[in-house]
């Protein structure tokens, strides 16, 4: 009928009928496309009761209209409007009429549309399109699509896609009426490592009556389960390492200020917060002045957060901590006071509410290594970042003049002073360095958690826990303790839930400190004192 629209001569009667039947294709830029999908069907897909919409979609799919694909894509992109019972497709970049309603898409419709589109794409000429369609259909292999799969399989020449199609066909055949076919299908699927296949098999297994098929299905389920278990273990390990890297980052700064210098810095958490807020400020700056370069704001935020926290740290050392060396109790109280001041200052400046720090687009999403093992980019980045900071810090302490002086002063202050080291200056620099690293950690934390005035409060305990457990004055110990605590806490979390995991971890710490007051990896000999 629409072809008539394309024709040069359009009679009034035609226009009337078209209008009445529906089809207000807004032919915005004069784009006239072939339209074989009946308008009535299109409006039934766009609006109405769920069951009826799905039935209409299946009907259109069975009819094999070419125009169904573009229509469904428009529906997915939100470019379809319903007006007076008619489905209108709005051309891209054109304003929709204000009085038309947007068709409602729920998960069921969205899933059906995705599957329908994938079904259409399965016969595409482009290999990448077919591969993508197969990935979508993996979760939707039901008996109704068997004919489609077999048709695609007959046309498919690519070996890898063929094998994927084969398992789809097998998945669909699990619902076959012939027990022999079901048995064969279950055996065919034994090589799969897909959670969706396993779920499908488990569902069918419950209703299976044929003993042979039952055995075959059970065997396949076990096989897939064993394969999936590796993905799960890898995921657990990764999340443990990821949490460990966060703990490590948080504790590294403290490993200098507390571990090497012996300052019990209760304001360490607030230095993290300063770093996170510096990141927020840089982000706001980019948003205001360089929105095009927003994805790169982190590269400016990293040095900014280091500098901001280092400056705050240096100021703290010069004004307060310097006068309290050797008096741990007073230091503890004074730095706790500073932490309150810093928190209140941030509250006054930025408000008590959390501020939103957005991930740059390259840190959103994840890398699906296995069907049940995804590595989120932001976690990967933090893992790499923690390693970088660690290596940088180790090199700084071991290879540079400043590092040499810091080690000298912390090991024997008087002797260092005797040989001409300006110990006061070294103290300030070392404290600023530790604070700056805390700032870097704050920048990293802003990418995974919330940024608010009390951000530091939730990490201060963890930071001390790592440093104390690792052994004071020991960089390597901090690393082991950070990663170890991360993995252990994720193990416990998987087993007993997040609340009990936290309790168990603290209990464990108490036990360890009782047995080994110097920490797990304490230096042997006199150096500890």
């Amino acid at each position: 009928m629409l072809r008539a629209l394309g024709a040069a001569r359009v009679s009034l009667a035609w226009i009337f009928m078209i209008k009445r039947l529906l089809l207000g294709w807004l032919l915005a830029l004069g784009a006239v496309s072939a339209w074989a999908l009946s308008p009535e069907l299109a409006s039934r897909i766009a609006a109405g009761e769920g069951d009826d919409r799905v039935a209409a979609l299946q009907q259109a799919l069975a009819a094999g209209d070419e125009s169904l694909g573009p229509f469904l894509r428009a529906l997915q992109d939100g470019r379809v409007r319903v007006k007076g019972g008619q489905a209108l497709v709005i051309a891209e970049g054109v304003m929709a009429p204000a009085d038309a309603e947007e068709p409602m898409l729920n998960n069921r419709m969205r899933r059906e549309i995705e599957a329908a589109l994938a079904g259409l794409d399965l016969l595409s000429k482009d290999r990448a399109t077919r591969a993508k369609a197969l990935a979508t259909l993996r979760d939707a292999a039901d008996a109704s699509k068997l004919a489609l799969f077999e048709k695609a399989l007959a046309a498919e020449s690519d070996g890898e896609l063929r094998s994927q199609l084969n398992s789809l066909v097998a998945g669909a055949k699990l619902s076959s009426a012939d027990p022999g076919q079901r048995r064969a299908a279950a055996a065919e699927l034994a090589g799969s490592a897909d959670p969706a296949t396993r779920a499908l098999l488990l569902e069918k297994l419950g209703a299976e009556t044929d003993p042979g098929a039952k055995v075959a299905m059970q065997r396949t389920v076990d096989n897939i389960g064993a394969r999936l278990a590796w993905g799960e273990r890898a995921q657990l390990l990764f999340s443990g390492l990821s949490l460990g890297s966060v703990l490590l980052l948080v504790a590294l700064g403290l490993a200098i200020t507390y571990g090497l210098m012996g300052v019990i810095n209760m304001a360490h958490g607030e230095l993290l917060m300063v770093g996170a807020y510096a990141t927020y400020c840089v982000q706001q700056g980019f948003r205001a002045w360089a929105p095009g370069a927003f994805d790169y704001y982190l590269w400016v935020a990293l040095p900014a957060s280091f500098l901001a926290a280092a400056l705050v740290g240096a100021a703290m050392e010069r004004t307060v901590i310097r006068w309290l060396y050797g008096r741990p109790l007073e230091t503890l109280l004074a730095t706790w006071g500073i932490s309150l001041v810093l928190m209140q200052a941030v509250r006054t400046l930025f408000g008590a509410q959390n501020v939103a720090v957005e991930n740059p687009s390259w840190l959103s999403g994840g890398w699906a290594l296995l069907p049940n093992f995804t590595l989120p980019y932001n976690r990967l980045a933090i893992l790499a970042f923690a390693a970088l900071v660690l290596v940088g810090m180790a090199l700084l302490l071991a290879k540079t003049r400043l590092g040499l002086m810091v080690r000298g002063v912390t090991q024997n202050r008087r002797m260092a002073a005797c040989v001409g080291v300006n110990t006061a200056r070294v103290d300030t620099l070392a404290f600023a360095l530790g604070s700056g690293i805390a700032g870097l950690a704050g920048c990293a934390l802003s990418q995974i958690g919330n940024v608010g005035p009390d951000l530091g409060q939730s990490y201060i305990v963890d930071a001390f826990m790592v440093v104390v457990l690792g052994g004071v004055g020991q960089l390597a110990g901090t690393v082991y303790a950070g990663l170890g605590l991360g993995v252990l806490s994720k193990l416990l979390e998987g087993w007993q839930g997040a609340v009990l995991a936290k309790i168990a971890l603290l209990m464990l710490l108490v036990l360890v400190i009782q047995k080994k007051p110097q920490g797990l990896f304490a230096l042997k000999g006199r150096a500890v004192e």
Partner: protein, 417 residues
């Protein structure tokens, strides 16, 4: 000389005493919402909603010929501090009514204070029920006005036909009780314990990797799975971030949340979250003149007061609506009673109606201190708004004592006097 100054002193004293003697020419209204800490993300706008409604009532000439005067305190997401601040509002500031609380643990903490002093609290957030105090008006949803319909929807064909459920929450009284009710409800629908897992995280939890991995694993173990989230406060941001990053799509495992609205999603990239669900009694996207007027009022107010975030991108949500209905009903009840006396206002509250922004005429139940509410289920859209995919045909009466908990049998649907 001495006498004269003594006279002046006496005059001054009587001047100062006068307002106190006539109980002031304002009616004080307490606002008890966390403006800092983990709950500030949700509660701060409620404070502003109360202030907006007070401005509106004052612009119309106030109540009983007096202006309303807000007294705002910050209990800082600290539950015992809620009770302290409530005491301060009631005994020191002498407020006529308090609007406040979000988490149930804060409500439980202030409840004895309101009962002992026979004062009034308007509580604007959906909650777990299992409570009915004569001193509280619950303008949020009871479980049968939110949680139960949401789970019914998940089990329906349109909701995906879920057969397995992950009940995920923050570790405190609201999620635990709601999940207890939901578990009983699911049992009544023939779902066994093997197909339900419950998991809790502490307040402010920020690392949801292992929880998401657990959901994925559970979902791969059988039939269609859905997640019911009662996570509260700013933990939602890392939760949804992780959900998006790990690629758990709504078409595979939908998440329905009871404490996530427009405001909580403000700082989140919602594109990967499309299709996840929330159940509320109001959404900003609901069409209708009452809602348009409400949104406009809020936008203008936010702009005029320069409220952070809202002045550029005004958002309204369900608890804001409930707050707004609550304070307006209270004002109507005070007018009807001709007094701010607690008992008179409570009597006048019964059966009050108000045109709710959600489009219905909201009615305070004659007996049980809860509002009759329509239930909406919305799906997250790419722009952080919700697309209503299901709603009840009309307002539903609240059941504060859930029939799915056996001990509730025979409990009366009205507060004990």
């Amino acid at each position: 000389m001495l006498r004269r100054s003594a006279l002046a002193l006496a005059a001054a004293a009587s001047l100062f005493a006068a307002p106190a003697a006539f109980a002031a020419d304002t009616i004080k209204v307490g606002v008890l919402h966390s403006l800092s800490g983990t709950m500030a993300i949700s509660e701060t706008v409620l404070k502003d909603t109360v202030l907006m409604a007070i401005d509106e009532i004052n612009a119309k000439g106030g109540l009983l010929g007096k202006k309303l005067e807000p007294v705002v305190v910050d209990p800082a997401s600290n539950w015992p501090l809620f009770a302290e601040k409530a005491k301060q509002l009631i005994s020191q500031d002498k407020v006529a009514v308090v609007f406040g609380c979000w988490t149930s643990v804060s409500r439980k903490s202030v409840l004895p204070v309101f009962e002992q002093t026979n004062s009034l609290l308007f509580y604007p957030v959906q909650y777990e029920g299992e409570e009915l105090s004569k001193n509280v008006f619950y303008t949020g949803a009871a479980p049968n006005q939110q949680a139960i319909p949401a789970v019914e929807y998940l089990m329906s064909k349109d909701g995906g036909g879920a057969k397995r459920f992950v009940l995920l929450g923050t570790d405190y009284v609201y999620p635990r009780t709601t999940n207890k009710i939901l578990r009983a409800f699911l049992h009544s629908k023939g779902i066994t314990d093997a197909d339900i897992i419950e998991d809790y995280t502490p307040f402010g939890h920020a690392d949801y990797q292992s929880i998401i991995a657990k959901i994925k694993k559970f979902a791969a173990e059988g039939k269609k799975t859905a997640v019911v989230s009662t996570i509260n406060g700013d933990s939602n941001v890392p939760f949804y971030k992780e959900l998006g990053n790990q690629g758990l799509k709504a078409t595979d495992v939908p998440v329905v949340a009871f404490s996530v609205g427009e405001e909580e999603l403000r700082g989140v990239d919602t594109k990967p979250l499309q299709g996840h669900l929330a159940a509320w009694n109001y959404f900003m996207s609901i069409k209708g003149s009452a809602n348009d007027a409400f949104i406009k009022k809020w936008s203008d107010y936010a702009k005029a007061k320069g409220i952070a975030g809202h002045k550029d991108k005004p958002l309204t949500n369900d608890p804001m609506e409930a707050t707004y209905i609550g304070i307006n009903m209270w004002a109507q009840a005070v007018k009807k009673a001709g007094s701010t006396d607690t008992d008179k206002v409570i009597a006048a509250m019964a059966g009050q109606t108000f045109p709710a922004p959600s489009g219905i005429t909201s009615k305070m139940d004659e007996k049980n201190h809860h509002l009759h509410k329509s239930v909406f289920i919305g799906e997250v859209k790419a722009d952080g708004q919700f697309n209503v995919v299901w709603k009840t045909p009309g307002p539903v009466k609240a059941q504060p004592w859930s029939p799915f908990i056996p001990e509730n049998k025979g409990k009366k649907d009205e507060p004990a006097k």
